[in-house]
């Protein structure tokens, strides 16, 4: 427990936290409450009146095949980004976490994608997959006897390309945190297991992986936020939700409903649904993080 280090300053701590509390309340909490409130209203056709509609915005969403399709697309996309991304990053982290030469070089050469923005990543992948001119359709056509890979017309290919681009951009970030987590595992523990005759595979599953669980849970949460929201720029640059609605993930649908179709009640309801999912994930993440703290001390 922290003790008071400077007694006799009753007002100072309030002054110190005031700016943080103010920005959180004004720009986060109050707008969110308004989102929640707005989700129970509907704006009339000419935007002149707002009408209380109870849960009708929510009911309409769950009856809309567009929305349900968007939910499914988001789950597939996020699942790909999280599972494939974390698996590859953990494997690279394990490779890097050895006594090898040029370790500094490898670290920089493997984490730099963290500095790219989703929009830049999307632009570069759009170039690589550009139908007719890009390098990837060219190689695919050569390898598979003239198969025409066109992600601008094939929805499934589009979703796959967008997911791969988003995963690639996040590799750097994930490797950074896995490496930090791996380096915090006590060496004696791994040594003891090895002396007891456990093979590398067993050591990994019985010691390394469980000891990494706080890092893994944290990354699960961050990657989820990334796949839900931060990829907006990547989607907007690459596919704008298309072709059809094949890559129309929730955040993109929300943006369109809010700012292009001006359907504010529905957009607010979508905001609230996303919040509930994020909040649930945040609570789970916190549970795991605190359990570790108890376990370690």
């Amino acid at each position: 427990m922290q003790e008071e280090r400077f007694p006799g300053h009753p007002f100072l701590p309030y002054l110190l936290i005031l700016p943080s509390v103010a920005v959180i309340v004004i720009f986060l909490v109050v707008p969110f409450i308004q989102s929640a409130r707005g989700s129970f209203f509907m704006t009339s056709a000419f935007g002149t009146r707002t009408i209380y509609v109870g849960l009708r915005n929510y009911i309409a969403l769950f009856h809309s095949s567009y929305y349900l399709h968007s939910v499914l697309t988001t789950l597939i996309f996020a699942g790909f980004v999280i599972i494939i991304g974390l698996a590859i990053s953990l494997a690279i982290g394990l490779l890097l976490n050895q006594k090898i030469r040029w370790q500094g070089f490898y670290q920089v050469a493997l984490i730099w994608t963290y500095a790219l923005s989703p929009a830049v990543a999307g632009t570069i992948w759009a170039l690589m997959f550009a139908p007719a001119t890009g390098i990837v359709p060219f190689v695919v056509a050569r390898l598979f006897g003239g198969y025409v890979l066109n992600w601008m017309t094939d929805g499934q290919v589009a979703l796959l390309v967008v997911s791969a681009a988003a995963t690639w951009k996040m590799l750097g970030y994930n490797i950074i945190f896995f490496l930090a987590g791996l380096q915090n595992i006590p060496k004696e523990l791994l040594e003891a297991a090895r002396v007891d005759g456990a093979g590398p595979w067993r050591v990994f599953w019985k010691i390394t992986f469980p000891m990494l669980s706080p890092t893994t849970t944290f990354l699960l949460f961050v990657n989820m936020l990334y796949a839900f929201f931060q990829v907006f720029g990547l989607i907007d640059i690459m596919t704008q939700g298309g072709p059809g609605n094949a890559t129309n993930i929730l955040v993109y649908k929300l943006y369109r409903d809010a700012f292009i179709y001006m359907n504010s009640g529905s957009a607010d309801a979508q905001s609230v649904i996303i919040f509930i999912v994020i909040a649930a994930a945040a609570v789970v993440q916190l549970r795991v993080a605190t359990r570790k703290a108890v376990y370690a001390r």
Binding site: F6, P13, Y14, S20, L116, A119, T123, T133, N184
Partner: protein, 275 residues
């Protein structure tokens, strides 16, 4: 060869392959940025660098007024990073060095911050900016980003490890808390400050959705939107050479920040995941 050397050779081979695979998209983008328009549509795709890099950079720069957008992005990224660092330092100092009513609310508050990313409050925040008459201004680009969970938790973690003797000695000497904060606590937090700067600069530089909706004139756009403008320009087919030149301009500042501050950044991250 002994087994050990063979393993080492294998590890290096795998790592170098991985480095190349991960770098390939950017290498391809770099090559494309040096080609002429005609070369970008050559069949088979050309993988040998051309000589048009400078012309492409100039074309991208002029076409989307990237100079102005570059300045806008730099300004908001630096200011937001600094404000977030200052606010988090202050809050973490209060949290770890004082006892006050409502102190126990600070942790739940940071948790709530994590749960409220922009999309879950996007319409009311937009409305708030309209009420403040901030649409299409730097204020609107920056203010909604000033809350920082990462920063508060990072500095809290670090301040808790600062030995009590340090603050006790300061207090016995009659040093005021604020003086202790500025002259002792902040200087020893340099590594964490640098780490947080990297995180927040990259975060802000990458923003796309909020600048897209909150800015309405060309001179208030940010560089990420500039790339989109290059992609969507009047041409029938994308001018990939010019677009890639723009993309490279947009990716340089955060890369430079990461590479320059990588040591502090790595230490800061290591400390944070120690918990």
């Amino acid at each position: 060869m002994t087994r050990k050397t063979r393993n080492k050779v294998l590890t290096h081979t795998i790592l170098i392959t991985l480095v190349l695979i991960i770098a390939f998209p950017v290498i391809y983008a770099l090559i494309t940025s040096t080609l002429s328009f005609k070369q970008t549509y050559a069949y088979p795709p050309q993988l040998i660098p051309g000589t048009q890099l400078w012309q492409n950079i100039v074309a991208a720069w002029n076409r989307a007024s990237l100079g102005r957008l570059f300045l806008n992005s730099s300004l908001i990224s630096i200011v937001v990073a600094i404000v977030k660092i200052v606010l988090s330092l202050m809050a973490a100092f209060a949290y770890t060095h004082f006892r006050f009513r409502g102190r126990s609310l600070l942790f739940p508050m940071t948790m709530v911050t994590q749960m409220l990313p922009l999309p879950v409050r996007i319409l009311p925040t937009y409305q708030l900016m309209a009420d403040f008459h901030w649409i299409n201004s730097y204020y609107a680009l920056m203010f909604p980003f000033f809350a920082s969970t990462t920063g508060i938790l990072l500095f809290r973690q670090f301040f808790m490890t600062v030995p009590r003797d340090l603050s006790d000695a300061a207090r016995v000497d009659g040093t005021s808390p604020m003086r202790y904060f500025f002259q002792i606590l902040i200087p020893i937090s340099k590594t964490n400050i640098a780490a947080l700067f990297v995180i927040e600069f990259i975060f802000m530089w990458s923003q796309y959705l909020w600048p897209l909706i909150i800015t309405t004139t060309k001179n208030m756009r940010v560089i990420q939107i500039g790339i989109k403008m290059l992609l969507a320009s009047e041409q029938q087919v994308p001018e990939w050479n010019v677009i890639m030149a723009g993309a490279i301009i947009a990716m340089l500042p955060p890369l430079v920040v990461l590479v320059l501050l990588r040591k502090s950044f790595a230490q800061g991250i290591a400390m944070q995941s120690e918990k």
